[in-house]
Amino acid sequence: MNLFYHIGKYALLMKRVFTKPEKRNIFFRLFIREIEMLGVNSLGIVIIISVFMGAVITLQTAYNIESPLIPTYLVGLTARDSMILEFSSTIVGLILAGKVGSNIASEIGTMRISEQIDALEIMGVNSANYLILPKITAAVFINPFLNIISIFVGIIGGYLATIFTFAIPPDQYIEGIHYAFIPFYVTYSIVKTILFAFVITSVPAYHGYYATGGALEVGRSSTRAVVYSSILILLINVITTQLMLA
C-alpha cells in the first residue's frame, strides 16, 4: 500500500511539474543553468570512468578469449558493443544517479526545510514546476550527449590499452570497432539514456520536495533518492532491453 501511496504522490507531483512555466525566459535561463550543473559538471567523471572502463573491458576480453578459433579483432567489437549497449547508458546512468540524484535531493530538500519552497508557494509560484521542470528537461536534453561522449571516450580508452599493453595489436582493435556495426544499438542506448535521465532527476526531486524535519532527514531523503533511482534504472534497463532488442 505504501508503494501505491508513493506512486500516486509522485504522479501528482509530476502533474504539477509538467505545466506551462510562469515565464518562458526565466524557464530558459534555469534550463541553461541546469545543463551546466547536471551535464557539463558531470562531464569530467563520465570521461574518466569511461576511459578506464573501455580499457578494462578491452583487456579483460583480450585475456579471456585466447583461442586460435576466435579472431582477435572481436576484442574491439566487444569493447564497442559493451560501451554502446550497457556501459555508457546504464552504468553511467547509475553513476549519475549517485552524483546528480543526491545533489538534486539535497538541494530541493534543503529548500523545503528552510521554507524556501513555502516562500515560492506563498508568492503564487508553482514551486514544483519552477524547481523541477528545468532539471528534468535539462537532463533529458544533455544526457544523450554525455552518452555519446562516453561511448566515444570508452572506445578510445580501449585503443589506448591496446597501445600500452599490446594485449592485441591496435590495428586489430580498430578493425573490430568497424566490424558488424549495428546503428540501432546507438538508438537503443540513447532511448535508455533519456529514460534514465528522467528517473535520475524526477525521483530525487520527489524525495527532496517532500523532505520533512531537519538536516538529518535531508540526508536520508538524498540516500533514498539514490537507492530508488538506481533500482528503477535497473528495472527500466531490463524492460527496454526486452522491448527493443527482443
Partner: protein, 251 residues
C-alpha cells in the same frame, strides 16, 4: 481586512485549532500569540493556505479564500507578502535577486525599473550596499530585513510574519518590530504577526489574539492586555519577574 470564521483544523486525531474567529484590520499590526505548540503557526499557515482547514471560512476583503480554486488563490497570493521565521531567502541568489524575484516572476518591468524598485524596497528597510551579497554573507538581522524587502516588493495588501524577531538580539528585534509597524501604516497593509516576543506584544500589538490549546482564549489591544484578568494569558505574558514589574509599574 482578513476575517476568520470558525476555523478548525486537525492532524489525524489531534485537534490543533478549534473554532477560531477573528478580524484582522487594515493598517494595523495584528499579533497572534501563544505558547509553543498552541497552534499559532498552524493558524498562520492555514490563513495563507499552506494548510487546508477542515472547517470554517477565511475572507480576504470579503473574498472567500479557503474554498477558492487554485487559480483564484494564486491571484490573492500575489497580494500577500510573507516573512518567514528563518527568512527563507534563496541561498543561491544575491540580495538584489531575492528582492527582485517577485518582480521578475509577476511583472513586465524593465531591468532598470526592477533595479529601482529593489533599491526602493531595500532603502525602506534601511539596507544599502548589500545588493550583490549572498544571504550567507549578511547577518541574521539583515537577512530578516531583506526578507521584509522581498515581502513588500510587489506592494502587498497583506503582510504575514512568522516570528520575525526570533534569533535576533533585543535591539535588532525592536528595530525589526518598528520597521514592520512603520511599513504597515505607510502602505496601509493588513499585517499579521505570529510571535511570542513580549516586547513586540507591548510595543506594536494593535490587536492581539491569544491562542491557548488551539482555541481563541483572549483578544484585545496592547493596552488592554495590561489589565486583563485572564489567568492563562497573565501566566504567559507576565511569566518573568521583569514583565511582572513592568505590569505593576504600568498599573
Amino acid at each position: 481586512m482578513i476575517k476568520l470564521e470558525n476555523i478548525s483544523k486537525s492532524f489525524g486525531d489531534k485537534q490543533v485549532l478549534n473554532n477560531i474567529s477573528s478580524v484582522f484590520e487594515k493598517g494595523k499590526t495584528n499579533l497572534i500569540i501563544g505558547q509553543s505548540g498552541s497552534g499559532k503557526t498552524v493558524l498562520l499557515k492555514s490563513i495563507i493556505g499552506l494548510h487546508q482547514i477542515d472547517e470554517g471560512n477565511i475572507y480576504y476583503d470579503n473574498r472567500e479564500f479557503s474554498r477558492m480554486s487554485e487559480k483564484k488563490k494564486k491571484d490573492i497570493r500575489k497580494e500577500i507578502g510573507m516573512v518567514f521565521q528563518g527568512g527563507a531567502l534563496f541561498d543561491s541568489a544575491t540580495v538584489e535577486e531575492n528582492v527582485g524575484f517577485p518582480l521578475e516572476m509577476f511583472t513586465d518591468m524593465s531591468d532598470e525599473e526592477k533595479k529601482e524598485r529593489v533599491n526602493f524596497c531595500l532603502s525602506k528597510v534601511n539596507l544599502e550596499n548589500v545588493n550583490h551579497l549572498y544571504p550567507a554573507e549578511i547577518s541574521g538581522g539583515m537577512q530578516k530585513r531583506v526578507a521584509i524587502a522581498r515581502a513588500i516588493s510587489l506592494n502587498p495588501k497583506y503582510l504575514f510574519c512568522d516570528e520575525p524577531n526570533s534569533g535576533l538580539d533585543p535591539r535588532t528585534a525592536i528595530v525589526i518590530d518598528q520597521l514592520i509597524k512603520e511599513l504597515t501604516v505607510e502602505f496601509n497593509m493588513t499585517t499579521v504577526i505570529n510571535t511570542h516576543d513580549m516586547n513586540s506584544v507591548i510595543e506594536i500589538g494593535d490587536k492581539i489574539l491569544y491562542i491557548y490549546k488551539g482555541e481563541k482564549w483572549w483578544e484585545g489591544t496592547n493596552d488592554e492586555i495590561l489589565y486583563t484578568d485572564n489567568k492563562e494569558l497573565n501566566d504567559f505574558i507576565f511569566a518573568s519577574d521583569l514583565m511582572r514589574k513592568f505590569k505593576k509599574s504600568q498599573l
